[in-house]
Amino acid sequence: MNSHTLRFGLIAWMTTCLLLCWSAINPAPSKAQSAGNLVRFLEQATFGPTPLLIVRLEQIGLEGFLEEQRTAPMTDYPDLEFWPQTRPASCTGDCQRDNYTYYQLQRHFFSNALYGEDQLRQRIAFALGQILVSSRSDVPLPSWMRTYQQLLYKSAFGNFRQLLYDVTVNATMGRFLDMLNNRCQTRTPPDVNICRNGLNSQPNENYAREILQLFSIGTFMLNQDGTRQLDSSGNPIPTYDQEIVEEFSRVFTGWILAPALSAPSSVGGTVPNYRDPMRVRLDSQGREDYHDKAPKKLLMGFQLAGGQSQTVELGAAIDNIAFHPNVAPFIGKQLIQHLVTSNPSPAYVGRISAVFTANANSPTQLFNVVRAILLDPEARGDFIDTATQPDFGKLREPVQFITNLLRAFNATSDGVLNSLNIGGSAIGSAEMSQDVFNAPSVFSFYPPTARVPGENALGPQFAVFSSLTSLRRANFANRIIFSNIPAAAPNRPTGTSIDLSFWDPLASNPERLIEALNQLLLHGAMSGEMRESVRVAVESVPVSNPRLRVRTAAYLIATSSQYQVQR
């Protein structure tokens, strides 16, 4: 890590200089891709523009970048051993930290976001992980969550139907939403043709409800442009009712964990298998004794005849969901919201739905959808016209706020950024209400329907933007710009810091300093009155203290609402 960060730092130093010279020399680029458009693109497609990446994008263009990202090697999470669910008394210290807390996963999440080459894959995986949610709240071991997060990495550019199937049989999801060990109900009188070895209890409805409501189609019938269909009385039309949920709950019966894995040699014995997909439960005579064999009525009037094998039924049920016409606008709009804007026009959603549907059987469906989202005319251009699109953009979620700021200034970081309490100030992502891989529930950190306070516009991330968390964002910026997150053994090996020394030479010319920061942090969109306000503060600092001038300017921009909102 050390040699890597050193090398990275050196390259970044040179390229930042390049960028500054370039933006100073060439304030009104004449090329097809203007600086503003490039930086905006990186805000949407990565965890934040870096000087290096801006230069690279200028060289290869947006299409070239997307192609490079499509084939970039996938960054992994650390390979965690599978330990017993109950911690052995001998496992303490680092063993406990690494195998019974999310420390390594969360740390690598941030390291990957800060330094990984596969930025687009990671960004899509992170978005998907907030739509098809699994959470530590019922997944206690990090090795179990790793399996799920690796699946999202692997599937980020793949086919949605395949993803939905893989998520469904994933053991971690099985545990989180209770398809694992879900079993049929024994009828009175018992009917072995329907349920051979169930309980006198109903199947668990949890996964059936949430796969429909959150992972695929939502609660109301949609037009392809994302707007709601209405009935003749002007009311929205439900996509399913309680009976359909119960029918799906019977489809999702009979799945159990794959054969147990060997525990670490120091422990001995076996541990539950959260590495492999769930498998079909069979009795001693090879019969699917936990699965409900009765006919089932699914979406859009589709019927399962009953009596089929458990796996065939599951495949048919996933097809029934994944090819429902709501999926394209429901998933497509949320991906737009995660990457580009909380308030896409219906036409934008419609264009993305068309790509989603045309690629329904493509093995690179999601990549093609994301490509369309990022290259759409509504996403591109130097600036967004405020007069015609006042609601454009998205509030940066805490993770994006942290990584964008750090990447812009080529931070050196150990990735320990999820939970931070420095000098009594709580400034980590978790403290800003985005505890990575530990959303409060399957409804994730914020709902796609949340609104901007005092406005009609949608602003999902505003659900985690409060008086408390807005000040914590400012305090994070204060900490990183005016000092650093210090190393603290053993769990913060290097801490996190940025090096502002190469900005110092600009400090004697506040307008140049502010313009360079404007290019890097706000893709050149800073208004004249904002520029003037920052200049007043910068000039209040004696020219003999260039670093304080740089810090003053960087702090004011980083804490401004103009920076909190990605436009």
Binding site: N182, R209, S467, L471
Partner: protein, 471 residues
């Protein structure tokens, strides 16, 4: 008056300046003189859908409970239950879950009541009108997000932009003598806390000190002459017509302003807090008690607080197999009971026990018939606790349903179940609308009868509009 408090008062005036309309209207000394007039509501939201069916358990009719929940392993042993005595309004004896010892004590002292079978409704709904679809019913029944919004907004047929906590604050907020936010949350800013005018303040929970519950680092104290501080505030007024920028600045500007006031509150002790060991809900209610203790200094006469506790979505392992009095739900109820009891005791010590009413909300109740994984699934109407010196305790409240009492008939496929047939799960159709439950609380807080429809737009559809559980 301690000099820091005095400084705080003066400082509040200075930092709020002209926007401090309340102060201008009443004058600072009046604010102190009138401080005896105080009322607060404290909402505790049980996220995930609390199983009311294992919280309030029939004691006289225990056999039918055992028959429904015993085979799945969810029936709590009768001998461990905390008995209520005969409940006057029902004429039968019930019992609390064994984890609820603290609340059971308050029940015995007449400081705790139960409101039965409450839930979102669009109109009075019966099993018949539900099943033949003549009743209009809330959108997307049994969905977490929808039912949470309906509980918090009281509006069940459309997406409401505000909640009834915030709208109540819109009505009673002008009684306050400062512009400090009348709605304070220790659990983010859910829709309950948002009014048409009032915006919630979210603060850090204990053990963070009250005077650091909002903090802005990196400036001299006071910061008011620091150029960077001044420009940071100026930037919050520049939105360039961009909606999201304006919204973000609205939140941050309020935070910066309120931070300037809260940092002078000190960190008053509020025994019996802190709890040992600390708990999530205990830490929240401890901070609420501290806020209440500085109500006079903050110029508050009406306040609404919001706390929440998650984990109630017990589809799985609600109880530990073989010992149904233990497990996830038992632990959560223990936390609720201990924290609420401590909070009540703190209000007694602060001399405001009769001025503070605490109440629970939750997404929905859970199916009477469990599933096969030691858990329960989503249902509808549930029971809620109301606590405080103004509660007419030791009684069940609600509206008489199909069995002529306020308590539903506990029978799958019975007269209060949405479900029919042999697979019926027992999802009680509410007999009390959220509107009625909330209107009772809001009326007590000071919302006039004439203004109730501004807070609860559909309350007139229900009779009576308020229930009698508060004096």
């Amino acid at each position: 008056m301690a000099s820091t408090r005095r400084e705080f008062l003066l400082r509040s005036l200075g930092s709020f300046g002209a926007v401090m309309l309340g102060i201008e209207r009443f004058g600072l000394l009046n604010a102190v003189a009138q401080s005896a007039d105080y009322r607060a509501l404290v909402c505790i939201f049980l996220n995930g859908g609390n199983d009311g069916n294992n919280m309030i358990i029939p004691y006289d009719d225990y056999p039918s409970y055992l028959a429904a929940r015993g085979p799945s392993g969810l029936a709590i042993e009768q001998s461990s239950l905390l008995r209520t005595g005969v409940v006057p309004s029902v004429g039968a004896e019930f019992a609390f879950h064994p984890s609820l010892a603290g609340l059971h004590t308050l029940w015995g002292e007449g400081k705790l009541g139960v409101v039965c079978n409450v839930g979102p409704l669009l109109e009075r709904t019966t099993r018949t009108s539900y099943q033949n679809r003549t009743a209009r019913i809330p959108l997307n029944l049994f969905s977490h997000s929808d039912q949470i919004n309906q509980w918090q907004t009281s509006v069940s047929d459309t997406a409401s932009p505000s909640g009834w906590g915030g709208r109540s604050a819109d009505e009673v907020g002008p009684l306050n003598v400062s512009v400090f936010s009348p709605v304070t949350s220790t659990a983010g800013t859910p829709i309950f806390t948002t009014g048409n005018l009032e915006r919630p303040l979210a603060i850090a929970v204990a053990p963070t000190r009250l005077d650091a519950a909002l903090r802005l680092d990196g400036f001299p104290n006071p910061p008011d002459n620091d150029p960077r501080y001044l420009e940071m505030k100026r930037l919050l007024s520049l939105d360039g017509g961009q909606t999201l920028v304006r919204g973000a600045s609205r939140v941050t500007a309020a935070a910066v302003s309120m931070e300037g006031a809260i940092r002078f509150t000190g960190d008053p002790p509020v025994p019996p807090f802190p709890l040992n060991p600390r708990t999530s809900l205990g830490n929240q209610l401890e901070q609420v008690a501290k806020m209440i203790s500085v109500r006079t200094e903050l110029g508050m006469k009406r306040q609404i607080f919001f706390c929440s506790l998650g984990g109630f979505d017990t589809h799985n392992s609600q109880v530990i197999g073989g010992t149904p009095g233990t497990g996830t739900h038992a632990s959560l109820l223990l936390q609720v009971s201990d924290a609420m009891k401590a909070f009540y005791d703190a209000t007694v010590q602060l001399g405001v026990a009769s001025d503070v009413t605490t109440f629970t909300l939750s997404d929905f109740s859970r199916t009477w018939v469990p599933n096969g994984t030691l858990g329960t699934d989503h249902a509808w109407g549930s029971h809620q606790f109301v606590m405080g010196g103004s509660v007419r305790g030791r009684e069940f409240y609600g509206c008489a349903g199909s069995n002529a009492t306020v308590f539903p008939t506990l029978a799958a496929n019975g007269p209060d179940d949405t479900d029919q047939g042999g697979n019926a799960r027992g999802r009680w159709i509410p007999t009390v609308a959220v509107d009625q439950y909330g209107a009772t609380l809001a009326s007590w807080l000071g919302v006039s009868n004439a203004d109730l429809p501004a807070v609860f737009p559909n309350v007139k559809r229900f009779d009576p509009t308020t229930l009698g559980f508060l004096t």
